[in-house]
């Protein structure tokens, strides 16, 4: 006797591409259509929903590799990294890493980083709102504790460092006129991107090296002392000005003293 949890487990595995076990097939009424065919209808729905979700998150990858390549990559990705959330917007977080290892994508070495940028855009779009930083509370932190300040970035913020010009690639392939993008030199330099939603819109910003390092260290949970040292080691930076700007424009939205 197939218990309810076991039935659900077998169905879920079958929908993700597994061969339906005999005892599952026996549980499905034929009634004019082969039970295996009935399960296939569900499997097609699952793959088509999940592929659609990936395509919605990764339109630039889709345009770079073409529909058939994208479909095949999705078909292989889906059973390897199944959805683990009831919210479909959470699906696809690891697609960039998958593309980085994907044998058929080795001739496009920038693909994984473009996917990282698209995932960051998607997360920024769907991130929760956050109130601005409490300036009054910040002004009450005594000077001797400043080094131990730990800042938190807006929930929509992601920092991406790539050796490829991924923002340029993204922009060229999001042209909605349907024009083919012009030639992009892959040697045009590394890219340090701050992806963030400001107001209603998602922005790609390219802070200079030391500023990027500062934000990266803050994002990693390091205190202001450590973040500052890392930023200064990366080059010249007017720390007070940079921090003030990111508080004012809500890149930094809260803090604690550890």
């Amino acid at each position: 006797m197939l218990s309810l949890p076991e039935l659900q487990k077998q169905l879920t595995e079958t929908l993700y591409g597994g061969e339906p076990p005999e005892e599952l097939l026996r549980r499905v009424l034929a009634n004019g259509l082969d039970p295996a065919r009935r399960l296939q209808v569900y499997r097609n729905n699952t793959f088509s929903n999940l592929t659609g979700a990936l395509r919605a998150v990764y339109p630039v990858i889709d345009r770079l590799v073409g529909e058939a390549f994208f479909d095949e990559a999705a078909r292989q990705y889906i059973p390897k990294q199944p959805s683990l959330s009831g919210n479909l917007h959470d699906f696809g977080a690891t697609f960039a890493a998958f593309l980085g290892d994907y044998a058929h994508a080795q001739s496009l070495p920038y693909l994984a980083d473009v996917a990282r940028l698209e995932w960051a855009y998607h997360r920024a779009f769907h991130a929760v709102d956050h109130a601005p930083l409490d300036l009054q509370a910040l002004s009450q932190v005594s000077r001797d504790k400043l080094d131990r300040l730990v800042f938190f970035l807006h929930p929509s913020a992601t920092l991406i460092h790539s050796r490829w010009p991924i923002i340029t690639i993204w922009q060229a392939n999001r042209d909605e006129t349907g024009n083919e993008p012009g030639e992009i030199s892959l040697d045009s330099g590394a890219c340090m991107a701050l992806v963030i939603r400001r107001g209603m819109d998602v922005f790609f910003e390219s802070p200079p090296g030391p500023e990027f390092t500062l934000l990266q260290k803050i994002a990693a949970g390091e205190n202001l002392g450590a973040a500052t040292r890392a930023a200064l080691a990366a080059g010249a930076i007017d720390l007070e000005d940079v921090l003030q700007r990111h508080v004012t424009c809500k890149t930094v939205t809260s803090f604690t003293v550890l």
Binding site: R37, S85, F125
Partner: protein
Amino acid sequence: MPDSDTTSARTADPIPARAGIGLRADHYEDLLSQLPPLAFLEVHSENYFGGGRPLDFLERLAEHYPISFHGVGLSLGSCDPLSTAHLQQIADLDARFQPVFLSEHLSFSSAGGVFTHDLVPLPYTEEAVAHFASRIAQVQDHLGRRILVENVSCYLEYAHSSLSEADFVAAVAEQADCEILLDVNNIFVNASNHGHRAEDFLESIVPERVAEIHLAGFTRNRFTDGEILIDTHNQRVAPAVWELYARTVRRLGPRATLIEWDTDLPPLSVLLDEAELANRIQDEARALVA
């Protein structure tokens, strides 16, 4: 003050038994600029778990229309533990918008923590009735309100089902003391897919339990060895489903009715046209009773 009547599924004031439409991002701007007469707007709860533009548009539209939240991700019928994080997100939306309806599906979409994002039916057994009833009780306790549960489209039936689908839906609603979101297109699709009579379904349902009706378009998939109707929500409601809808409102009385359209979205005017057709059918049913 919202209606605090505990027998109602609504925390907001009840809405008239007229048609509303599913709200999709493509129509945000048109709806806000035109503000067409609609009884309510329904959204997929999960699309508003974050903030930013979607939530902003919903806030602005909620100033003009009652809002209904339709969940597609709670996996109500799963044997996995209910996700309290997911449920809390729904509770937050409930508190923020006071939706006129809050609904989920009579199906499961996950096992062992893996989600198919498909609405897969359970066998129609007493065991599954009790399972759904306890899960719905958990949800209703957490939210402090009654929810609606929807009959889903089915492309398979289980050999060990002991109840008809309609008796199953009715039994879940009774045991859980929740309301029913009756999807008339799904009744039609299932009757066709499994050789049942759609009228039998209607006769098993207690009219008072039904708080909302869904209507959508389906697609006919032909195989070499048979055919199956798929609930695709990508076209107009089929004429045969309109006929079944007319029979439904004659039997149940008029109900708040949603036009669902999720893929291959047409211009807003097409949805408004479908909503108007639903209103006309309800008016005809009212005239018959008068």
